[in-house]
Point group: C2
Chain length 256, copies 2
Amino acid sequence: MIQKIVLVGSGNLATQLGKAFRKNGLDVVQVYSRTEKAAKALAHVLECPYTTKLDELVQCDLCVVLVKDDALETVLRQIQLETTVVHTAGSIPMELLSGYFEKFGVFYPLQTFSKQRDVDFSNIPICLEASSDEVFADLQTLGEKLSTSVQPVNSEERKVLHLAAVFTCNFVNHCYRIGDSMLEEKGLRFDLLKPLIQETAQKVMGMKPIDAQTGPAVRMDETIINKHLDLLADHSRQKAIYQLMTESIYKTQNTK
Amino acid sequence: MIQKIVLVGSGNLATQLGKAFRKNGLDVVQVYSRTEKAAKALAHVLECPYTTKLDELVQCDLCVVLVKDDALETVLRQIQLETTVVHTAGSIPMELLSGYFEKFGVFYPLQTFSKQRDVDFSNIPICLEASSDEVFADLQTLGEKLSTSVQPVNSEERKVLHLAAVFTCNFVNHCYRIGDSMLEEKGLRFDLLKPLIQETAQKVMGMKPIDAQTGPAVRMDETIINKHLDLLADHSRQKAIYQLMTESIYKTQNTK
């Protein structure tokens, strides 16, 4: 059974996952970060020891590696623990770990994390993959302490999930940002858009997105579209996004 | 005071607004649609008479015109009522009505409407503009029966609000749709994305969108981005959207 956990990394996910582990009765026994400042800050939040040296990681039941994809192999190479090691990256195959460890897996919570905002893990899909049934069972028990939605997801599926998450979270948030900047320019409050943003998300909880689509692009209403393009004349990037999305919505809706 | 209302149009907004009027004690005394079928269907929902002839509109306190932007002038020209007439279009200036009526205005609820899905009007911003203080006061009293968020918004502001709504609702929903289609191709359930979609919307209720941004585009993580572009090789439109959004997020985040 997994009880003692070491976190390698100190970013948004390390912070939120560490908090969730503690809240659910697990022991975060150490955190690692490359920089003293980041390590210390997270150790303070999680009330645990920290290190900035990978050869000083302490014994534990699970080592969770949460570093940037580019840094992953360099970090893995230096971990000497004889325990289960997992990464949390959407787009990295589990097999990368097989060169370094005997028991390994992937623990991928499908959510957006910011340091400042605590999230409720209870309904977050935790996508698991493991080197053996035994490791899978351990990770599943751990995952179920955090969430009611623990799922087996293989590396290829996880890659697609990650890409879909970029569209439905990162790109969505960028659309919010563009709306915000437009209103700001006119002295209007972003608050005006909040009920619309909530309803747009809420709608697809019970309806397929293709059926929830509204707006001028659906029917290629050129009068409105041209007015919008005029308004965007001085914002070439936003204008390009508008044109591409409009065309894509129209084609999607009219080939369904 | 406005009590008796005629609705000219039978689309999503006509349906939902008609329901909201009735629910709040107002009388929808007639609906008009160009086609008998649509007129009859809405009249059935709102339990009121209908017509397909604009010269048969009945006396009322307010006539709400909810037709497509392209059809608006043709319809306005045929309305003979001696009463207050409003349109509900985001991108059409109020002044268009001045050629046809003495008392007029705009009643623009900022929300996404589908026929099948009832919405709660109570927190929807209702954006008002009117030809006189007297008409404004009447529309305000009416709006406040439906919503706690009634706002004066002039034609230029409304046009920007409408454009921002296209980004934060229509384009957002299209991102949901792309995510859905990707998962579908792999036999994965859209349900997996729902907690992410909800959290992404919820985050900006209390945080500026620019501060809520996460994902590979923020730091231009080329390893992940190239993997995603590979996955999109056979989907040229989605690939173009990915590239444009990624570039736009990176530039926005790195010039803030």
